[in-house]
């Protein structure tokens, strides 16, 4: 924003200087078009497109693997039959069973391709949704974005039912990832019941990708299972278990492995703090957190809920030293205690251009509505002061100090 730099009356020569000075310093973006801003904000929607895409890919991969497996089985079924000495009847029966299998496979393929189609549809709906954002009319779209962000938060916090309710009532099912989180829910619920089986199954399902990201999720689950065997004083089984499932991790995680194996010597009621923590219930919470992180990574989600990310950035953008004063306007979120609390550890905003807001009308003071100074240095917009003068016979009363003066005593301020 730039204001008229023409000084009070007697000097016109100053204008061109200040005009060029501000123009070269920092050209303000044109106010008329929000398009670049919209484009920038759409670039933040990576997760929105990535999650259904990863889901789609996963289904494709799984379906393909299943088909390959079944086909190989049928082919080797023929090879085996050719090698074996079958009676004519057995050979016919065998071939008939293979035909049945192929029919079953075809049905499965059709089912699978229907599921793939639905997920592809979801990917496309999201692309369309991004495309539907219209710079001139964003309120509806922004409203939906807020809801999407809230559903994401609730899903991550395991408030599934509320998330589903909100998504349904606003018809957002295709724009949020409830189905993906259902998969996580099963694993998390089980972990909270001290059951690692679904988590291990999940690790097996995603083995190659977890390996690529050097995840040690499975190792941690195995360690926990081992600890549970020690807790139950099932030492022989614990040792067998360790040989089978922990030893393979020895090459990369020797230290942790040794520490856990050592619990065999200490048992569950150990007072030694190094080992005591391993038996604590919060280890299970830790596993839940660990799983959530792995899960988010795998689907290309941010590790933090979207809400936290946007909220933090927004609080910083809005945070000014004036926000913590009593006269912070109630339209400012930071006038509220809850928002102030969250903003406390965050940095203040930074702006490049002066932006003056009239204390009385809350309107921007610019060339159209320039700021005027009272004799005590308090500044208000021309509009507000004119209005006040009209109502009070030319008298001006400073709303913050009570000072009374005449409209003629005001001077204009020129802000560049």
């Amino acid at each position: 924003m730039e204001m008229d730099s023409l000084p009070n009356g007697n000097n016109t020569a100053g204008t061109p200087i200040s005009a060029t000075a501000t123009a070269t310093a920092n050209p303000a973006p044109p106010q008329s078009s929000n398009l670049p801003q919209l484009t920038e904000s759409l670039k933040l929607e990576h997760q929105f497109l990535r999650v259904p895409f990863e889901h789609y890919k996963k289904t494709l991969r799984a379906n393909h693997r299943a088909v390959e497996k079944e086909m190989s089985a049928v082919i080797s079924g023929v090879t085996e039959a050719a090698a074996a000495d079958l009676s004519p009847d057995d050979a016919v029966n065998h071939l008939n069973s293979l035909v049945c299998r192929l029919q079953g496979l075809k049905r499965k393929l059709e089912e699978g391709s229907r599921a793939e189609h639905l997920q592809a549809q979801k990917c496309r709906v999201r692309l369309d949704h991004l495309e539907s954002a219209d710079a001139e009319n964003m309120s509806e779209w922004n409203n939906t974005r807020m809801k999407r962000i809230l559903v994401d938060y609730m899903l991550r916090m395991s408030y599934y039912d509320t998330a589903v309710k909100l998504a349904k009532s606003s018809n957002l099912q295709d724009l949020v990832d409830i189905d993906v989180f259902q998969e996580a829910k099963k694993v998390i619920d089980a972990l909270q019941n001290k059951d690692v089986a679904p988590a291990l199954a999940w690790c097996a399902d995603n083995k190659s990708r977890l390996k690529k990201s050097k995840s040690k999720m499975e190792f941690q689950l195995r360690l926990q299972e081992f600890i549970e065997l020690v807790r139950a004083e099932n030492n022989l089984r614990a040792i067998t278990y360790a040989r089978k499932y922990l030893a393979p991790w020895g090459a990369t995680h020797m230290k942790e492995l040794q520490r856990v194996i050592a619990t065999l010597a200490f048992k569950r009621d150990t007072e030694c703090s190094t080992y005591k923590v391993l038996f604590e219930a919060k280890q299970w919470d830790y596993l839940v957190d660990q799983f959530k992180q792995e899960f988010c990574k795998l689907y290309g989600m941010t590790l933090e809920p979207l809400l936290n990310i946007y909220l933090q950035a927004g609080l910083s953008a809005l945070k000014t030293p004036y926000c913590y004063e009593d006269d912070c306007t109630k339209e400012d979120p930071l006038s509220q205690e809850a928002f102030r609390t969250l903003a406390m550890p965050l940095p203040y905003s930074k702006q490049h251009h002066s932006k003056l807001v009239c204390y009385i009308t809350k309107e921007l003071m610019d060339t159209e509505n320039p700021p005027q100074v009272l004799p005590n240095g308090y500044v208000y917009s021309t509009k507000a002061l004119e209005e006040m003068a009209k109502k009070n016979n030319g008298r001006i009363i400073c709303p913050r100090t009570g000072l009374v003066c005449s409209y003629t005593e005001l001077v204009k301020a020129y802000i560049s």
Binding site: S41, V78, T79, T162, Y310, L311, G314, C328, S349, V411
Partner: protein, 386 residues
């Protein structure tokens, strides 16, 4: 943004998926046909008592599978599909910001505070059922009632207005008439005007006149032109849509009136008109892009970011997020503070105190205003309060 490129890439993925699927089906069918034709041969041999070497037939079948090579047939299309998938994934990474948490400061957000904010947002938006559900899930159903209470009446009024029923709104306005007048709102007049037009539209001139005398006359002096216009409508009873006043019938008037009512209602409640959560998130959407760009540039200095007292990059916020006056000294480019306040010079230009001290060599000499040829005496400068 190149959304069309991205969409094209995705269309390619689905095309390849369909191709791969039909190829697989073909392969399955082919194998099945081979087996079935062998079965036919075996069966017809059975019927004719013709001697047949089963082993040879099965080995021939095995050989034909080797020839058909169904798995490698599928592999080709599968590979093409994989290429398309990889390409689409890369496009997403290129055109979007793959990690928007790069500018996130790792601090614990108080969950209770955040949940209160979220619940308040639901009530503020009139999503009462969701709000109640949320509060019971997070285990704070007690505070729900207090939080939603003020908004319940507002949404009842707004809902009635959607059905063009002004009764609840008028009741509210008459109960709060004094407070509304005090805050300078003319919503009462606006509601009565709307009701008057409604009465008039339904045809009865007498009724409308009666309504005007009852409810509009108190505004006769303060809002003379508005009232005159409304009375003019009386001449067009039954054909208001063809009158000079047809704009009064526009359905958008109802939306405007509802918005104004919400504004005044929130104002009396001491609540903000917009949900503070929505406002903050919208502001976050605006600052994240420059912030993320900055984080990419100074990737190595992540620790510095964790302790910064002010954002490292200036943000350009829309008018709707500007709640306080910000003065940036045009000379030093620094934001004014209590210790370095804005000062009005005798020419009318404004600089920060430290810039003035610098240019005046600590108030020892007169200097020229950088924006006009005026000579400035530091002692004559006046501190401003925006």
């Amino acid at each position: 943004m190149e959304l069309s490129t991205i969409k094209d890439a995705f269309d390619r993925v689905t095309k390849k998926q369909k191709l791969s699927c039909s190829k697989t089906q073909e392969a399955i069918d082919q194998i099945r046909q081979e087996i079935e034709s062998v079965l036919d041969t075996l069966q017809s041999a059975n019927n004719t008592d013709h001697e047949l070497d089963y082993k040879t037939v099965l080995n021939e079948l095995k050989a034909s599978f080797l020839l058909i090579a169904p798995l490698s047939q599928m592999e080709g299309t599968q590979k093409e599909l994989n290429v398309a998938l990889t390409k689409y994934g890369k496009l997403l990474e290129k055109h979007f910001n793959p990690d928007i948490s790069k500018a996130y400061r790792n601090i614990d957000i108080d969950r209770h505070t955040l949940n209160q904010i979220i619940a308040n947002h639901f009530y503020h938006q009139g999503l009462f059922e969701i709000g109640d559900h949320f509060m019971s899930v997070v285990g704070e159903p007690e505070s729900a009632a207090i939080m939603k209470f003020p908004f319940v009446e507002m949404y009842q009024i707004l809902e009635a207005m959607q059905n063009q029923n002004l009764e609840p709104a008028l009741n509210w306005a008459s109960t709060n008439g004094d407070k509304l007048a005090q805050s300078g709102s003319d919503i009462v007049l606006k509601l009565h005007s709307m009701q008057f037009v409604k009465v008039l539209q339904n045809g009865s001139r007498e009724e409308a006149l009666h309504y005007a005398r009852m409810h509009l006359s108190p505004f006769a002096t303060s809002h003379m032109t508005d009232i005159q216009k409304l009375m003019g409508c009386l001449l067009w009873t039954g054909k208001l849509d063809r009158s000079p006043y047809h704009a009064l019938l526009s359905p958008s008037n109802w939306d405007k009136l509802a918005e104004e009512l919400k504004r005044q209602f929130c104002n009396l409640l001491g609540q903000s008109y917009n949900s503070p959560l929505s406002v903050t998130v919208a502001a976050g959407v605006q600052v994240l892009p420059p912030l993320l760009k900055f984080m990419n540039v100074m990737a190595g200095k992540k620790n510095e970011w964790q302790s910064m007292n002010q954002l490292p990059v200036p943000v350009e916020l829309d008018r709707e997020f500007q709640f306080h006056s910000i003065f940036v000294c045009p000379v030093s480019k620094e934001q004014a503070t209590e210790d370095n306040p804005p000062m009005l010079m005798s020419c009318g230009h404004v600089l920060c105190k430290q810039s003035i001290l610098k240019m005046s060599k600590n108030s020892t000499k007169v200097f020229k205003c950088p924006y006009c040829p005026f000579d400035i005496d530091a002692a004559q400068c006046k501190q401003l309060y925006f």
